[in-house]
């Protein structure tokens, strides 16, 4: 199987600080790949390099065998800060990507309601982001990313700003949506539980500069739900293993 996304030896420095790498990862088609690591290890930088938002200092990234040299329409991003436009309604925010990519009007009229429905936003089309809760805002963010029908979805701690309950609910929602919209997902998180619940594989990054410390396969059958997964012995084994890895990394920093 050819990989959807290939990351080869990328590094990134900010001034004197080496933030990332060298880091190499392969993402399989339709895979849900979680990236976890101690804080400040360059998870977000890695994702921004994958998105083509910042060029790596060394190394290269390919999507479908094509080198990434800038943002690409088949790669969509969901941000921790939601990144909604406060002057646009929910409808216009969801339509944003389609409009900016110059899709035909008929397609926009067809796709926007579909993803508003899918993300449970019906009835909120004409609300502005500031009128919505954090969880609802991120639903808009996800709907906006899915609406452009991307092949790869990059998610940068999308639930990091949400409270624990909303977060769990959104995780299950994301799994439900991912079942119908099979995408290749790279999901950055700092939550071990979240990574196990969502991921097919988990990439553990080392402390700064982030390198791939280990890649774990999450052999828990789908469909998964938070309740059920947390009751499985395998969940606790994985959790323990991830804890050890992350603690070892945290100690390196100290």
């Amino acid at each position: 199987m050819t990989a959807k996304m290939v990351v080869e030896g990328i590094t990134k420095r900010f001034g004197d600080v080496s933030a990332l790498g060298p880091c190499s990862v392969q993402v399989q088609p339709n895979e849900f790949l979680c990236v976890i690591g101690p804080s400040g290890c360059g998870k977000t930088t890695l994702l921004r390099v994958l998105a083509g938002l910042v060029p790596p200092d060394e190394g290269r990234v390919w999507v479908d065998g094509e080198e990434v040299r800038g943002p690409r329409p088949e790669v969509a991003m969901v941000f921790q800060h939601f990144g909604l436009f406060p002057w646009k309604t929910v409808w216009d925010n969801v339509a944003y990507g389609l409009r900016v990519q110059g899709r035909p009007k008929a397609e926009i009229q067809e796709r926007v309601p579909k993803f508003i429905e899918l993300m449970g936003l019906r009835g909120f089309e004409h609300k502005y982001p500031y009128q919505l809760s954090g969880g609802m805002q991120q639903r808009v963010g996800i709907a906006r990313a899915l609406a452009v029908d991307p092949e790869v979805l990059l998610m940068d701690e999308p639930f990091g700003a949400l409270d624990a309950q909303t977060r769990e609910f959104m995780q299950e929602e994301l799994l439900r949506v991912w079942r119908t919209q099979r995408k290749t997902v790279v999901f950055v998180t700092h939550s071990i539980d979240e990574a196990i619940l969502l991921g097919d594989r988990i990439v553990v990054l080392s402390s700064r500069p982030g390198r791939v410390r280990e890649v774990l396969s999450v052999d828990i059958p789908r469909p998964r739900s938070g309740d059920r997964v947390r009751g499985l012995p395998r969940f606790h084994e994985l959790r323990h293993r991830l804890w050890e890895l992350l603690r070892a990394e945290a100690e390196v920093v100290r």
Partner: protein
């Protein structure tokens, strides 16, 4: 109110006023006007006046059509000057924010002109442009353009970098980013600039009319001051006050309607 709520244990909490804030305001105005009226009637000085005399003078000036005539002249000057300031200030502010070369090249001029008291320029404007509408429009323009230009520049500059990155991630072209992100984000700043400009523009208009041609509300004021008609003198002043309050109030409401999210952020 907050102080009272924060100290519930204290016995002597100051009593909450029983009237609504609006009622207090109206009452305060009524008391002020009443006191002025009483004092003015008592004093009965030819160079002092009081509200009822001003009201009578206003009726007379409206009946002869004098007030309308001068008001119209003033409004033409104000709106032309403001319109030109908006038409020049916004594009210039955008351009200066967009191109660093232009920013650095124009910065000394903008700063120097903005810092110069604009009234100091009146004689030179009169010398160059004469005493007619042209000169007055130019003065109002000079009074108005800087707040608009500077606010536009600030608005463009203060756009959320994260939203710019969102636009980039969705492969937005630069032109589309200006349309979808930068200008909408700058709009509340631009409106606030126009609001400030109206206040300054009114000053510019009156001062220009003091010094230049023989029309407008400013001319009315000078004319009646010279002839000691204080009751008539106050009529254009009251009209100017009304214009200032009305126009800035209108802009504030417009800001709130166009950028409701700014309003919410401020309240938080």
């Amino acid at each position: 109110m907050r102080v009272a709520a924060a100290a519930p244990a204290q016995r002597r909490v100051p009593p909450r006023p029983r009237m609504t804030p609006a009622a207090i305001r109206w009452l305060s105005v009524a008391v002020g006007l009443g006191a002025w009226e009483a004092y003015g009637r008592l004093l009965a000085s030819p160079i002092f006046t009081y509200p009822s005399a001003i009201a009578r003078a206003a009726v007379a000036l409206v009946q002869t059509g004098e007030l309308q005539f001068y008001l119209q002249a003033s409004l033409v000057v104000l709106s032309l000057g403001l319109l030109l300031a908006v038409a020049a200030g916004i594009p210039l502010g955008v351009a200066v924010a967009r191109w660093p070369l232009l920013e650095h090249a124009t910065d000394p001029y903008i700063n120097a002109l903005y810092a110069t008291p604009t009234v100091a320029l009146i004689p030179i404007i009169v010398l160059w442009l004469g005493f007619q509408t042209q000169a007055k429009v130019a003065l109002v323009f000079l009074f108005c353009v800087f707040p608009i230009l500077i606010n536009t520049y600030q608005g463009v500059r203060s756009v959320d970098r994260r939203l710019l990155e969102v636009a980039r991630a969705f492969c937005s072209t630069e032109w589309a980013t200006w349309r979808d992100v930068i200008l909408p984000s700058a709009l509340p700043f631009i409106l606030a600039g126009i609001r400030l400009a109206i206040g300054r523009g009114l000053v510019g208009m009156v001062v220009a009319e003091f010094y230049t041609s023989i029309t407008g509300l400013g001319y009315m004021i000078v004319q009646y001051a010279n002839t000691f008609r204080t009751d008539r003198l106050f009529v254009p002043i009251v009209v100017l006050m009304g214009m200032g309050v009305g126009l800035t109030g209108l802009l504030k409401r417009l800001e709130r309607r166009i950028a409701p999210w700014m309003h919410v952020l401020r309240e938080e």
